[in-house]
């Protein structure tokens, strides 16, 4: 990640309100059994009219999944190939059998994201954006491996925006920043929360690391140990 992105993440004020209050120790059992290596991210369904929200959600998922150690199918290539197959609307893709989609690309799992809300309130001095994303990871045989839903509210810090623009030297990046100052950093903040690596079996948020992550064998060693302890009780 580039320093500018990191800074943008820090500058955003974030309030995440999680739905889950009690942790279900079995919530990742199906994930642990399947241990997917590759993830097909299909175009997100967007319940609001903002098309840039869709792009932002799609464009920022590969970073998090890749850095977690999964092979992520290239999202724009997948989108293009799905269109060749006759899937033009994300809703059609989401309605198709996951087994069929996974088989088309020989993916271990399919990630579906739905943008339930993306609302910006423009006030005199600041803009507040309210977002609500649903995530669902389904295995190639149709089993749900992980699900979560996150609501978050953002108010970019206006005092820092001058400094931020000053740091952006690249014309392309500047163009993105001018047109859409909050989309990418905002979306990345929510993904980072949703896709965090669970600290332990009691943790109610996040997904395990994948096979390319250096912590992969340690993670599954702990999982095996935890399940052994449960059996011994």
């Amino acid at each position: 990640m580039k320093p500018v992105n990191l800074l943008a993440l820090v500058v955003l004020t974030l309030i995440v309100s999680g739905c889950a209050t009690t942790a279900d120790p079995n919530r990742l059992n199906a994930f642990h059994d399947a241990q997917p290596k590759s993830i097909l991210v299909v175009p997100p369904v967007n319940d609001v009219t903002d098309v840039q929200a869709t792009t932002s959600v799609l464009a920022t998922l590969p970073y998090f999944l890749g850095e977690k150690g999964f092979y992520v199918f290239p999202v724009n290539t997948v989108k293009t190939m799905l269109e060749f197959e006759g899937y033009y609307e994300p809703a059609e893709v989401h309605a198709a059998p996951p087994e069929q989609l996974a088989n088309l690309f020989k993916a271990d799992a399919v990630l579906y994201v739905t943008i339930h809300e993306w609302t910006s309130k423009y006030m005199l001095l600041a803009t507040t954006t309210q977002v609500d994303f649903g995530y669902k990871l389904v295995s190639a045989d149709g089993a749900t491996l992980w699900e979560d839903r996150l609501q978050a509210q953002y108010s970019p810090n206006n005092n820092s925006s001058g400094g931020l623009i000053g740091l952006i030297v690249d014309a392309v990046e500047a163009a993105v920043e001018r047109a859409n100052p909050t989309y990418i950093p905002l979306t990345k903040t929510v993904h980072a929360q949703a896709l965090v690596t669970p600290a332990g079996v009691g943790s109610h948020r996040g997904i395990p690391v994948g096979p390319y992550h250096p912590g992969y064998s340690t993670y599954y060693g702990q999982v095996a140990q935890a399940s052994g302890e449960v059996k011994n009780d």
């Binding site: 990640m1 464009a59 920022t60 970073y63 890749g66 092979y71 999202v75 724009n76």
Partner: protein, 115 residues
């Protein structure tokens, strides 16, 4: 405190920040911004794609490029009608990532049949 010392301290802090931020498994370049520009900023598309191709080409013999990024370059070239160039990038992805082989094997075969 002396001004230059303060400056030195500040810059070393900044450097430390950058080092921590670069601890990633892969290099991603401006992948996210490129997709944004391709979808929404037609006047910057050509420049963004040129930058992206140049970035990806640096990794022909290097493994730090993030998964999927060679293949995306192939698809961008395919959209421009450069089938040969597209096949080249698809083959790089195919070699680097075994998970991509079922999908790209068929794609490369079909594209080569068009030549």
């Amino acid at each position: 405190m002396n001004k230059s010392l303060l400056l030195m301290l500040l810059s070393s802090l900044l450097l430390a920040g950058c080092a921590a931020g670069n601890k990633t498994l892969y290099d991603w370049g401006q992948y996210e911004q490129t997709l944004f520009v391709v979808y929404h900023e037609p006047e910057y598309k050509e420049q963004a794609l040129e930058n992206y191709f140049a970035f990806v080409r640096q990794y022909e013999d290097e493994s730090r490029l993030a998964p999927g990024l060679f293949a995306e370059a192939g698809t961008f070239l395919l959209e421009q009608g450069d089938v040969n160039g597209a096949i080249g990038f698809y083959k790089m992805e195919y070699e680097r990532w075994p998970e991509s082989r079922p999908m790209l094997g068929i794609l490369i075969e079909n594209l080569e049949a068009q030549l």
